[in-house]
Amino acid sequence: MVYQISVFLENRAGQLAEITSALADNGIDLRAMSIAETADYGILRMIVDDAQKATAVLMEHEYLLTMTPVLVVSVPDVPGGIAPVLETLAEGDIDIEYMYSLFTHTGGKAYIVFRVGEAEKFVSLLATHGITPTTADELGIH
């Protein structure tokens, strides 16, 4: 299981830079990030190489955050590579709450982060298509 850190963001210039530099100062590597926003605030979601350390650093800076387990699925880094995964979700009538991708593409693969309504059902349906979610170890994170 891969853990995502979600941070409450005020709609204020420079806030994102403050967070990323706090992580950088502590040698934490950002692997993925996305922002969901309203007019007044947002939620920064990210995958880092050391979730526990990142959490400690951010809490020290008094950020409001929460940890959530997410699924990471690797897909071939070719046009249409993600299609079988999305078809699986449609087949199982599973809602996608949100998705985004990791910065790195390695070994001809892209990595997609999924937060879905029914994670277990998603995993078992993926298995029937011969797909297994990527583990934290495989991504070299913990």
């Binding site: 409450f8 005020e10 926003e37 309203t38 007044d40 605030y41 939620i43 409001l64 929460t66």
Partner: protein
């Protein structure tokens, strides 16, 4: 009908008014003593009996009533008549969620409507007029009060209630409204809309009676110029019946308090001591004719000045200045009473910290209310849908508590300044 609605009393000599007040006060104290145990107990605690109040000069001896008493005695504790004799309630928001519920007998409604009728006639109203009431109807006293006053004068009354500007303007143009009654900010908004739509030539307004919120002389001149009317102020509070407790005449230099029904005092809000005439202080009312909700020495928390200078209109009743502020933290937003404690209660119920800031502003002549709330860990989630759903729940709870919409702005924890001692909870940007 001439210049006055009830000329004998409106232009009575000082001696006549005082004699009437003395007689009515003594009777009212006796009525309260016999029928309102809550107040009787307060008198007994001060070692008073009705015999201690022989005239207005003795008024200072009596204990005060405040919104706290209304809360404690809610709902029936200050009732002066059996419910079987009451015919109506009106209500307003109170502190910490408890509403103020005021009761009326038919007699009380009559005297309240008389007060409003005086205000309408003072604004030039006659039975030939079409009175357009755009105050809210319902629990709020604005609509029912002016509606009743307008009936008494014999005007054609248009009970539009508040909102729905298209409909307001349609009736105003089609039926030729001549006197507009609403909040000053809504009047300014209507004026602007009338100009935008090029309807200025189609309206027949000659006067407006605007109250329930603070407005400046500048705003008055703007509305008057824009609509080609004369704009009159009116004052009142649910606790003392509603609008019409005091109203402006053509002199527009303060509002005549209906002294045959209410005795006004100005006190030092800190010490409670009665201040000499002309002093600035907290306005206190004693209702001397109301039966069902006979409040004695009720502290309005409004700061103002009373003056007995001769008024060119010929009315002899004392005049109060526009309220210059509050001696508590109550805000009036869109004519609605808002207490920070109400907002605090909702925040705590919804799981948010009670560290918040209220920002009030006036945009396009209309009040806006924004509450800055610190995001709470238990309401935070990775899901934007969940966070916005929690936010909507908070907005709905605030609307239900306050009766008006408040915009919620979620901010990061510990970002609202915590000050030493009294926190700065309210930022009022309105330039009134």
């Amino acid at each position: 009908m001439g210049k006055y609605y009830q000329p004998e009393i409106e232009t009575a000599s000082r001696e006549q008014i005082l004699a009437l007040q003395n007689e009515r006060l003594v009777k009212q104290v006796q009525h309260v003593w016999e029928n309102v145990p809550y107040y009787r107990k307060k008198m007994e605690e001060k070692g008073l009996t009705p015999a201690d109040v022989q005239s207005v000069d003795d008024l200072y001896k009596l204990p005060f009533l405040s919104k706290d008493d209304l809360r404690e005695a809610y709902p029936y504790g200050l009732l002066g008549k059996p419910l079987s004799e009451c015919v109506r309630i009106q209500s307003t928001s109170g502190t910490t969620g408890k509403r103020v519920v005021a009761f009326y007998t038919q007699h009380d409604i009559d005297l309240w409507e008389d007060c409003c009728a005086r205000a309408i006639v003072a604004a030039g109203g006659t039975r030939e007029d079409v009175v357009h009431v755009a105050y809210g109807y319902g629990l709020f006293t604005g609509g029912p009060g002016l509606n009743g006053g307008s009936h008494k004068v014999g005007c054609l009354t248009l009970p539009l209630s508040s909102g729905n500007t298209d409909r307001q303007l349609q009736f105003m143009t089609d039926l030729g409204s001549t006197i507009l009654c609403c909040t000053p900010s809504y009047a300014a908004y209507l004026a602007e809309t009338i100009h935008e739509r090029g309807l200025r030539d189609q309206i027949k307004l000659k006067a407006g009676i605007f109250g329930a919120e603070a407005w400046s002389e500048n705003m008055r001149r703007e509305i008057e110029a824009s609509l080609g009317i004369k704009a009159y102020d009116i004052y009142g509070l649910t606790e003392t019946s509603g609008p019409g407790v005091a109203y402006e005449c053509e002199a527009q230099t303060g509002m005549h308090i209906n002294e045959d029904h209410f005795i006004a005092e100005i006190i030092d809000p800190e010490t409670g001591e009665v201040l000499p005439e002309g002093s600035k202080g907290e306005l206190v009312f004693t209702a001397i004719t109301k039966q069902a909700f006979p409040l004695l020495r009720y502290r309005t928390k409004d700061i103002c000045i009373l003056t007995r200078e001769k008024c060119p209109c010929g009315r002899t009743h004392v005049k109060m200045s526009k309220p210059m502020g509050r001696s508590d933290d109550m805000l009036i937003v869109k004519g609605v009473n808002v207490f920070p404690s109400q907002i605090e209660q909702v925040l705590l119920e919804q799981g948010y910290p009670a560290n918040y800031q209220i920002v009030v502003d006036r945009v396009n002549h209309s009040d806006t209310l924004e509450v800055m709330v610190e995001m709470a860990p238990e309401n935070f989630s990775d899901s934007l849908a969940k966070v916005t759903a929690m936010e909507k729940k908070l907005v709905d709870a605030l609307k239900s508590m306050l009766g008006i919409y408040a915009k919620v702005r979620l901010v990061a924890p510990k970002t609202i300044a915590r000050s030493e001692g009294k926190a700065v909870r309210i930022i009022d940007k309105r330039k009134i």
